[in-house]
Amino acid sequence: MRRPWLSLLAASAALLITAAPALACGGLIGPNGAVNLLRTTTFAGYHDGVEHYVTSFEFAGGGGAFGSITPLPGIPTDVVRGGDWTLQRLVLETDPVAERALSRDAFAAAGASEAEVLLETTIDALDITILRGGGDEVGLWAKNNGFRLPPDAPEVLDFYADRSPIFMAAAFDADAAAERGQAIGDGTPVHLTIPTDNPWVPLRILGLGKADAEVVEADVYLLTDDRPAMLPNAGAFGESAGLILDHSRPATDALLTDLRSDDGMEWIPREAWLTKVVVDTTAAELTYDLAIDVSGAGKPSAIDAGFAPFGPDPAPRPPVGLYLLLTAAVIVAVPLLAELRGRPASSRPPFAGA
């Protein structure tokens, strides 16, 4: 399976992700409280230290401005319109019967404020903003740009920001899309190029804004040089709850050729291993991400999967009152000791127990 030129690439793997209908990549909720983006389809490819991330959001109707937010493993160097058939081709490869319509989106403009804006671009009716910041900063940015985050957002944003404080906010203006002639179900694929040593697939974000019992369904496609090591480890149908290993075999030449022929997909390697993991669990159970080891060491990161905290907890800060008491103790002790030192030994008071 491995070719010499491929083995020389330290992280030569490709990671492909597509999302099933219920995959909404982290809802920014519009002013009316409705989540209008019902479906997000995402593709990411990792090869030679660069992740190629393609995502597409389906316009499900409605008016006004709304959008979504997606955590990223690094800072994109480029954000352009994605190819037209990459996502469809992947779905057909593993699910040729149930053909799923893909999406084309449009997003609404949203200016940045609290979080640092690293990149802004417009693709069709979509306004894409790459943000760097902690959960609070990104949350404030969303608020200041007219979006209301769901109540679980503070915890979920912190969950991601601790590991990678890079987020993609995609804003969609339904009215503008309608003026452009976009129909319900249309989508706009967006291709991000992200240099990173550390690809991982955000899964927990898929449950953002959902009730605990609500089911999250997604298809995750991985394309790696060899069979990947994953955490959590997906099991076969009937053997695993939440993550199901649906496909795991060498990618066909036809698939790789088709993917390579799409816009911006020339980086697809000549040989690869195709894995499809089905996410089928409740939002309450989806508290993790999918960590992938593409190095061949077989040790996916527990931190990347969200099972271990990123770094030690900061030490608790003593209260101001404690500082004042310590200061008082010093003020008392210093003159007292000085006075005691100045007295003759016979006049010193005995210590307790002396």
């Binding site: 949350g139 608020k143 209301r148 109540p151 957002a153 915890e155 944003l157 200061t327 008082a328 003159p335």
Partner: protein, 134 residues
């Protein structure tokens, strides 16, 4: 011993300052922290007939509400359309990462819930219970 008096006075002042800091905002004030869309504490007891100042600290980057009342009060607010609150002491909007205060005197004993009625927040668990003791 005369030389120690200024030191003892300074110590007394510092201890008083430290105590005031530790007990802030005062005997009839209660601080409720909002973190990850939850109230802390979620259970409170207060005496009746005493003005209580509630200090509402929102540590989240999203807006929240603190509305306290009986069942009928909350049922009305579940379908309410108020964008924000602030004119009524029992209805407070706490903007993201900000602190709000309100003072309420409960004249009769009873049990009241405090809830955030922004969409999805009550279902997420933003509910607390305050008991007014007789």
């Amino acid at each position: 011993m005369r030389s120690m008096r200024p030191v003892l006075v300074a110590v007394a002042l510092l201890i008083a300052a430290a105590t005031a800091t530790a007990c802030a905002p005062g005997a009839h004030a209660l601080t409720i922290t909002i973190h990850y869309s939850g109230f802390d504490p979620a259970e409170l007891q207060v005496p009746r007939g005493v003005p209580i100042t509630f200090v509402l600290v929102n540590e989240d980057p999203i807006d929240h509400e603190w509305l306290i009342g009986d069942d009928a009060f909350h049922e009305a607010h579940r379908t309410g359309t108020h964008a924000s609150h602030g004119d009524v002491p029992t209805e407070v909007t706490v903007p993201a990462l900000e602190t709000a205060e309100t003072t309420i005197t409960f004249d009769e004993p009873g049990t009241f819930a405090y809830i955030c009625h922004l969409p999805g927040h009550e279902g997420y668990g933003m509910v607390g219970v305050l008991t007014v003791q007789g």
